[in-house]
Amino acid sequence: MDATDRAVVNHLQGGFPVCEYPYRVAAEQLGITEDELLTRLQQLLAEKILTRFGPMVQIERMGGAFSLAAMSVPEADFDHVAEVVNALPEVAHNYQRAHALNMWFVLATETPDGIAATIAKIEAATGNRVLNMPKEREYFVGARFTA
């Protein structure tokens, strides 16, 4: 990454214009050409420095239900349980974390009932209790990172 790549990453984490030629407008603000911006975005995505470029949606507004859930999985069963959990399409993310509750996953289902049904399925398939921790209130969402 050179200085221009850093500028692209740092300045384009939000506020991308909605107009006829948005890349041209954004490129002007960065002092580069539209072509160069498009090329650099392609490269940053190909190199996986960016995971995505586009609109970020407040997903609850699309309908559906979401929750964070946690489980305490014995070390010896961990990989097997991870396989079972990951195989469910309702599981969007799954992280191992250093804590007694060592598996944390995000569930996304089409209906509110889907969350409870998926949790019941995971409990039955793994024999572990799942703690359901749906968001009760959002104070901030807006990951920003400096390159």
Binding site: I49, R52, P55, L68, N94, A143
Partner: protein, 157 residues
């Protein structure tokens, strides 16, 4: 404002990303069978309404050197959690901040703040800043570092 079928079509057409062509909104319009004017107008409206949080780049924080990912969790008194949650969410290094239910006795924490750092030390320094704001309203806290990404597909619509 409620979302109509055009809004949904726009969102699902852009979940893979905005087309990397000079006129991306025109490309979306063509894809969903709407006019570019409608796409631009609806996207502006969804931004104002907060359905679209923002449009831009999502960096892979690991690639940028943010190797430590700490979910900091805090046991904050119920009567103060909302006021304090807003303050914690306003810190520039907190990327997500939520209130979630406790599950006593196994889980006492109700305030979650995601903190990233180049290393654990940096996350701990940031957590100390949170602790200073919460003061006596916080009874306990923990930092849960992620040790492995087991699955990351993104949310499908």
């Amino acid at each position: 404002m409620t979302m109509d079928t055009t809004d949904r079509a726009i969102i699902s057409a852009t979940q893979g990303g905005l087309p990397l062509v000079p006129q991306p909104y025109h490309a979306i319009a063509e894809k969903i069978g709407a006019t570019p004017e409608i796409v631009i107008q609806r996207m502006q409206a969804m931004l104002e309404e907060g359905i679209i949080r923002r449009i831009g780049a999502v960096p892979n924080h690991y690639a940028l050197g943010y190797q430590a990912n700490g979910m900091t969790v805090w046991d904050v008194s119920d009567e103060h959690v909302d006021v304090l949650g807003e303050k914690i969410g306003a810190l520039d290094f907190v990327t997500h901040c939520y209130r979630r239910p406790r599950h006593l006795p196994e889980w006492r924490y109700n305030l979650f703040a995601m903190v990233h750092g180049h290393n654990r030390e940096e996350v701990e320094i940031k957590a100390a800043r949170i602790e200073k704001i919460l003061q006596s309203h916080c009874r306990a806290y923990a930092i849960l570092y992620s040790t492995r990404i087991l699955k990351k597909t993104g949310l499908r619509i």
